[in-house]
């Protein structure tokens, strides 16, 4: 993984930039931590990022998900690695908690079966896509590592769409993040984050209709954007995608199942 790191002595601020990972880029600021400790923390985080990239990156032909997608056919039983099986179990929980709207198959999650590390499906043409999950899963691991290392102040930006804000800006009382419209740049909203995650999904002028509704099989079109703020970055990640698919009824169900999450839908 190619990365650039820089340590600002005066501010005791560590910055790492990864230009290309999981289809996007990654920036992390860790503040009030020594250079040595920052390096150590980054080394642990880098391992997690690489692990999830190896598990879930569909654009990497050697990843676990690519191998699974290539091998999967009706009746064929595949042995997946332990970590991948764990991810699938977690994905199943989100599938249930979102009333089936979060679906990595984008068609029929119920056709996917897992026992231990043995995976099979009874519906041809299923293709697993962890697009609305991977970055959140990595951020959850990063949050865990930062907590374990007693890091109180950090800001992690994973491709703009997934943000983890620990503590507060050194000169302020929170981390303040603007949400510009991808269509005309106007400020849609501003979020004040303290020990919170923010996830955004939506269409853009150059990347429209990319989120599929598993119930209808249709992709969501239009100038729609969603944000979710909640303590757990993976909840935020999953919910921001799901919020692209909800109606008033399902939105209400989601709010019941995820009481810590503040969810918004914007028609731009």
């Amino acid at each position: 993984m190619v990365c650039e790191t820089k340590y600002y002595e005066t501010e005791k601020m560590f910055h790492v930039y990864v230009p290309q990972i999981m289809g996007t880029r990654f920036d992390m600021l860790v503040i009030d931590v020594s250079r040595e400790k920052s390096d150590r923390i980054w080394s642990g985080i880098a391992c997690q990022i690489e692990l999830y990239d190896k598990l879930l990156n569909r654009f990497d032909a050697s990843s676990e998900v690519s191998a699974v997608n290539a091998a999967m056919s009706v009746g064929r039983h595949i042995i997946v690695c332990e970590e991948f099986a764990e991810v699938l179990r977690n994905v199943a929980e989100y599938h249930a908690a979102t009333g089936g709207l979060f679906d990595i198959t984008r068609r029929d999650f119920s056709a996917l079966h897992l026992e231990g590390e043995e995976l099979w499906c009874d519906n041809d043409g299923l293709d697993l896509d962890f697009g609305g999950y991977g970055k959140g899963a990595v951020l959850r691991q990063i949050k865990r590592i930062l907590d374990e290392n007693a890091v109180a102040t950090a800001f992690v930006n994973f491709g703009n769409s997934s943000i983890l804000a620990k503590g507060k800006h050194p000169a302020g009382d929170c981390w303040k993040v603007d949400l510009p419209s991808p269509y005309d740049g106007h400020r849609v909203s501003t979020f004040s984050l303290t020990d919170m995650s923010l996830s955004t999904s939506g269409n853009t002028p150059n990347y429209s209709s990319h989120i599929c509704n598993p119930r209808t099989g249709k992709y969501v079109s239009g100038r729609l954007m969603t944000t979710v703020v909640c303590p757990d970055p993976l909840d935020a990640e999953v919910l921001s995608t799901v919020m692209m698919l909800v109606n008033d009824v399902t939105a209400s169900v989601l709010r019941g199942n995820f009481p810590d999450a503040v969810m918004h839908r914007y028609v731009l």
């Binding site: 650039e4 230009p19 290309q20 289809g23 996007t24 703009n160 997934s162 944000t227």
Partner: protein
């Protein structure tokens, strides 16, 4: 053992540099923006494996020593002779290469038939005389920039080059610097749109002086300050930057105007310590050049300005006029450093590098980028001086000239000297017909 390992590492690093630039068989992309790399392609590197160029270095001062340290790490180089008129400098070079023959007169060195090529690191006034003598003596030549002290000397060197089969290099290291090569390629690919101007500056806060052991050596030791030896900031600093501008624009300016003064270092020096020169192309585009050595705040930058973005080649980054894809995190870093609290515009649907137009990474090359802050008088690590020197040693073995290196050095040196002329005469001057060469497009 360590040294051997370091040599191997350096060689691997050089091959990686060429590979990273996409120079595989054919290498059309990289050769279109840096044709001089054809003489050091991966195939050519394999060709010289096991062979060594026997080189001599003339002028063992600070820059000469810098090259000597690099030569120690180039596996296909053998330093067989050293020359300097100043004994203490010669002595320090001998400590590095004790087996090398030593000379005080470069003419005698040139008579040594065991020498394939010479590396010239003398004060500027000696560049042309030694280059011309060395080519006449049948040596390949690597000369520090700039090409020469005067316009006529430049023309003589250029003409001599046309009539020799020997390789001639000038140490225009930006031409071999990965971030510059890739950056120019990106400019040609339209990443920053049409070039609308260029802006280069070099700021330092230092008097440019060196300690003088006895007063009669003042002019020789501090040669950069006196016009008999030096053309000042233009040839010492601007030369590199003007080359980059010509390289990016693919043409030459047709008129030059400027102002030069001794603003701060009024210590008997004869060259300007503050210069502002504007070079104007026939279509109205300009190079704005500025150098000042009594304030270092602005450092050094080579900026190519396009209607859609700015290529900051010194730092290996570029900015798009309508791209805020990464500026949020940079704004946040600045805020933290300046103790300013405000919102940053960085939330949004996922950034995707494959979406052209809205999502172009800012780094010109991946990984860590070596940035020269421009404060060193000698040279910095990883500024590609070692790569061009290695390419020269390779040419000493293969006999192959490096395409366009002399032409680029000629163009930039002539522009430097015309800049001085414009400042000295206080008027706008047109590029003189006599010094035009077929390589130049106006």
């Amino acid at each position: 053992m360590m040294e051997r390992k370091e040599k191997i590492d350096r060689e691997i690093s050089r091959r990686d540099f060429i590979r990273r630039l996409g120079y595989f068989a054919g290498g059309a992309a990289v050769l279109s923006s840096a044709p001089w790399l054809s003489s050091c392609s991966p195939d050519k590197i394999r060709e010289v494996a096991g062979e060594r160029a026997r080189v001599a270095l003339i002028g063992t001062g600070s820059r000469g020593m810098y090259h000597l340290h690099n030569l120690k790490l180039i596996p296909h180089a053998e330093v067989v002779a050293l020359c300097d008129v100043y004994e203490p400098n010669l002595k320090q070079a001998v400590e590095l290469f004790p087996a090398a023959k030593t000379y005080r007169d470069y003419h005698e060195l040139l008579e040594n038939s065991e020498i394939d090529g010479v590396i010239i690191c003398t004060p500027l006034n000696m560049h042309a005389p030694i280059t011309l003598d060395a080519l006449s003596a049948g040596k390949h030549v690597f000369c520090e920039k700039a090409m020469a002290l005067t316009l006529d000397q430049c023309k003589q060197v250029y003409d001599a080059y046309l009539n020799t089969d020997k390789a001639l290099y000038f140490c225009m290291q930006r031409m071999y610097d990965e971030k510059y090569i890739k950056g120019i390629q990106m400019i040609r690919d339209g990443v920053i749109g049409d070039i609308v101007g260029m802006r280069c500056h070099w700021f330092r806060n230092a008097d440019w002086r060196r300690e003088v052991p006895s007063p009669e050596l003042e002019r020789q030791v501090n040669w950069r300050l006196y016009r008999e030896y030096s053309a000042g900031l233009m040839t010492e600093l601007a030369c590199h930057q003007l080359e980059v501008c010509n390289w990016a624009a693919g043409k030459m300016p047709e008129s030059i105007t400027g102002m030069g003064d001794i603003v701060y270092w009024k210590d008997g020096r004869e060259v300007y310590d503050a210069v502002n020169v504007i070079y104007r192309y026939s279509d109205g585009r300009r190079i704005n050049y500025e150098s000042l050595i009594s304030n270092k705040f602005n450092g050094m930058e080579d900026q190519i300005l396009g209607h859609a973005g700015t290529m900051d080649l010194t730092k290996g980054v570029y900015y798009l006029e309508e791209d805020n894809s990464r500026s949020g995190i940079e704004t946040l870093i600045s805020q933290v450093r300046d103790k300013v609290f405000a919102s940053v515009p960085l939330a949004g649907p996922s950034w995707r590098p494959e979406v052209k137009g809205t999502a172009i990474p800012h780094s010109i090359i991946e990984g860590r980028v070596s940035v020269n802050g421009g404060q060193s008088m000698i040279g910095v690590d990883n500024d590609a001086s070692d790569i061009i020197l290695s390419a020269f040693c390779q040419s000493c073995i293969t006999g192959e000239k490096a395409k366009d290196v002399v032409e680029e050095a000629y163009c930039s040196t002539v522009l430097c000297l015309l800049g001085n002329k414009a400042m000295d005469e206080g008027r706008t001057i047109l590029f003189p017909e006599y010094y035009k060469i077929p390589y130049m497009k106006f």
